[in-house]
Symmetry: C2
């Protein structure tokens, strides 16, 4: 079994930005053409900025790039100078200040598996996330109902490439083989995995096995929430 930090990237520098100094978040619009991103990253680099998050939101005639940037000084003049210089990049039509994705959607729990169980896990997870979000946290619950060993394994592995994803619930009736290896890989990257009680080797590779899907969703969100006293590291290997 892999043994990454159990609360995963929830504790990493890039997802604690809500309480610490938030990065500068920008939405840049310009023509959708090769080179736009390279020009924008060049301007940011000249200001010593470190890009902590980036996404291309729209691609039609124009492209919209969402950027989150840590600036070295933290001084407001640094932000103003960067903004001013981006606004004169010839190919950018518009540069707007926006909230960071962590501020808006927060940390993400990903539920993967069969429709019936995914829906029940979502019920528990959404209800528990609501209880924490109402007290100022931000936790999103994302789901993908998908069948087949390869599809599920790809989805599990891809969670390691999703921004702000910190945990997975495996919600199915039979998972093993390639899925088990994918579980080990994402756990090694610090993503926690809770599995429903099911046949196959994937459940035993998870941090924790929970039989009731609503309970599994609730526990997964408790493992993410700062306002919950639930340490998944202390639950490792248990079955409920």
């Amino acid at each position: 079994m892999a043994s990454g930090p159990m609360t995963g990237r929830g504790d990493a520098a890039n997802v604690d930005g809500v309480t610490a100094e938030a990065p500068l978040a920008l939405l840049c619009r310009g023509p959708d053409r090769p080179g736009l991103l390279h020009e924008v990253t060049g301007v940011i680099l000249r200001h010593g900025g470190n890009i902590t998050s980036i996404a291309i939101a729209e691609r039609d005639v124009t492209a919209a790039i969402h950027l989150e940037i840590e600036l070295p000084s933290g001084a407001p003049e640094g932000r103003e100078r960067l903004l001013a210089e981006l606004r004169v990049v010839s190919s950018l039509e518009d540069v707007q200040l926006v909230p960071t994705m962590l501020e808006v959607f927060g940390k993400r729990l990903i539920v993967i598996g069969g429709g019936a169980q995914v829906g029940q896990v979502a019920i528990g997870a959404v209800s528990e996330a609501d209880r924490h979000n109402i007290r100022g946290e931000k936790i999103s619950v994302d789901t993908i109902p998908v069948v087949g060993e390869r599809n599920i394994a790809e989805a599990v592995r891809a969670v390691g490439r999703l921004p702000r994803a910190v945990g997975i619930v495996l919600a199915g009736s039979l998972m093993g083989g390639e899925i088990t290896r994918a579980v080990e890989q994402v756990r090694a990257r610090g993503i926690f995995v809770i599995s429903l009680n099911m046949p196959g080797s994937a459940a035993a590779a998870a941090d924790l096995i929970v039989t009731d899907p609503v309970q599994a969703g609730v526990m997964a969100v408790m493992a993410i929430a700062k306002t919950a006293r639930f340490d998944i590291a202390r639950q490792r290997g248990r079955r409920y």
Copy 2:
């Protein structure tokens, strides 16, 4: 009321990549420092590549950048040359071929609002997505239970900056003011909005009002699925 194309970015070039020639998807790992992204985008630009999706998945000692790239020729040699050149960028430790996020998670429906209703909409949406995903589609259902006019409006607006998001369900009991303006803005960008039947002006600004939350989730996924005969443009302004 805004009147963007109702099936939204579901029809745009960047989300039809599953059936058309899929872009080249890469996971690049290197030290987390300013300039890495600029170097990588520079190599891609020299190959005439257009970056269609980008995300920073991990940031610890190393950073992992997920990139999706359209190359001009489409010839396999172009891909091989780009890969070879990226693999010798001094600061990249690893360059791996991975599936695209569209191939793995597909198009995204975002459910925003109060926990009780969000959970019920998710039940309907996940169950319906399962029916289509089992026939080869990929539709994800993402949720954020969140309270307060400003938080909800920010979440609605931010959907316009989320990769692969094509529709929203407003799942609450009272939404208006700033939320209504956010609904108009995202609809103008081609994102469709279905609202539960609730007090406040936001519902009337949506494409469609649906009273039952399970039905709202099902209809939202039908509006996204290629295998469903449901055209939300023909439903505009209706209440169920």
